[in-house]
Symmetry: D2
Subunit: 142 residues, 4 copies
């Protein structure tokens, strides 16, 4: 694979959750910042499904600080709604990774939000490290 970034991966990880009362606000809808928590839940689930559970990060001494986050809100979610968070790896650079997310209300399949996050791979001191090729492959295989 060398330095060539792999093509986009089109397999979505799917994570279900239910809106907590704590996540709602005075407008009766989910507070806009909580979508970033849901994106996190999606990313962590995707990584776990690719053999990169948290214990494995710790073993490898890796951290994934977020350097960019973006959300477009389409429709509100309300308390007790069932939610589907879809996450995919959009691209992997030398030491960064971009995840894309879509959030749906189920069972209607109503799109609530889209967005993305960019993370860099660092060691425990916060110094950027390159993606191990074996990890890149694992995250871009389906």
């Amino acid at each position: 694979m060398g330095g060539c970034p792999p093509g986009p991966v089109t397999v979505w990880h799917e994570q279900r959750l239910r809106v907590r009362y704590e996540e709602t606000d005075t407008m009766g809808v989910v507070y806009y910042g909580k979508y970033l928590t849901w994106f996190e839940v999606g990313r962590v689930g995707l990584l776990r499904d690719h053999g990169l559970g948290y214990k494995e990060w710790v073993r490898r001494g890796m951290e994934f600080p977020v350097v960019q986050a973006h959300v477009d809100y389409k429709a509100p979610a309300r308390f007790d709604d069932e939610i589907l968070v879809k996450t995919k790896v959009a691209s992997i650079g030398n030491s960064s990774i971009r995840f894309e997310n879509e959030v749906y209300k189920i069972p209607e399949g109503l799109l609530l939000a889209t967005g993305h996050t960019v993370q860099v791979l660092t060691d425990r001191e916060g110094v950027k490290i390159p993606f191990p090729p074996e990890l890149k492959e694992r995250l871009t295989s389906t």
Copy 2:
């Protein structure tokens, strides 16, 4: 003023706060989603300073749901850090408003994050309403 959008307003609202333990995560830094709460604190302060405190929104039957949020993270904040959240109105459309934010660690003045949010003005049923001209003027005056 009619239909012409006012030029960008360059006066920053400044809001100080201190990092709460609740806002930090296992990496020992402020969780990425919390910056959207700080942006909210900045926006609310800016609106209050322009005579649009919450009681006034309620009196007018207005709400401001967020339709877009974006953050670029530059450096981490840690527990008990003193933070300066700067907020300005970047532009006002027919029924939307764009706020820009900068977050600094003080007293060093280290830039921690930049970002923006876009809100639409709606009535209590969530139906978009045009910005009253008098409000536009108030929010774009310094």
Copy 3:
């Protein structure tokens, strides 16, 4: 049933969840306030299992504000831990209800916390209302 409070109900509702990164703090453990969110998730699940899902509260015009909350912390939870939240109705008064909670780390079965909450039943204006006998029965049947 009349005015006699039913005896304690000993059937535990069980709800599984996984620790979110957002829920942890600089000590690397779940922030103490988040247990109240987990208690909420447990209560809501228990009520739903007894035919009192949120749509049903709304239909009946009922709300359940919390008047007391208590937690004893026994051992810390960490990011990505699998958690079991057990909830039961401990007693129902005229217009109040007491839930008890136990939180475990699974699969070890390590007890992390115990606690309780007391809620009052109110109408949408926050005025206390008596528990409808049929509701009391439903919540104290197994």
Copy 4:
């Protein structure tokens, strides 16, 4: 001072804050779990005022995990309300400390909640350590 616990300290630390939109829920009031965050803000402020700012904890290698938390809710707080959080050291044991809190809406002085937390003093590995006498004295002097 030896093993004798000092008498109760009756000086309240006062911390003002303003309700954030993020802290409210669908009932239009502050979510019950957020009071524990406010108690934290109060404790941290009290410790800082006694020369125990966070940098000092870190220098001494101390942590303060919470082992018990309790809240009695008297009246709801709403978005943008100004809040006064009062905190005092109620007692200090060998390696534990009990803080009491009162939360008021200002300027009315309406009591919103009372409560307490108990913390133990530990080293960075979570092992209980006795309160240094000089610390006890400092925390119980006014």
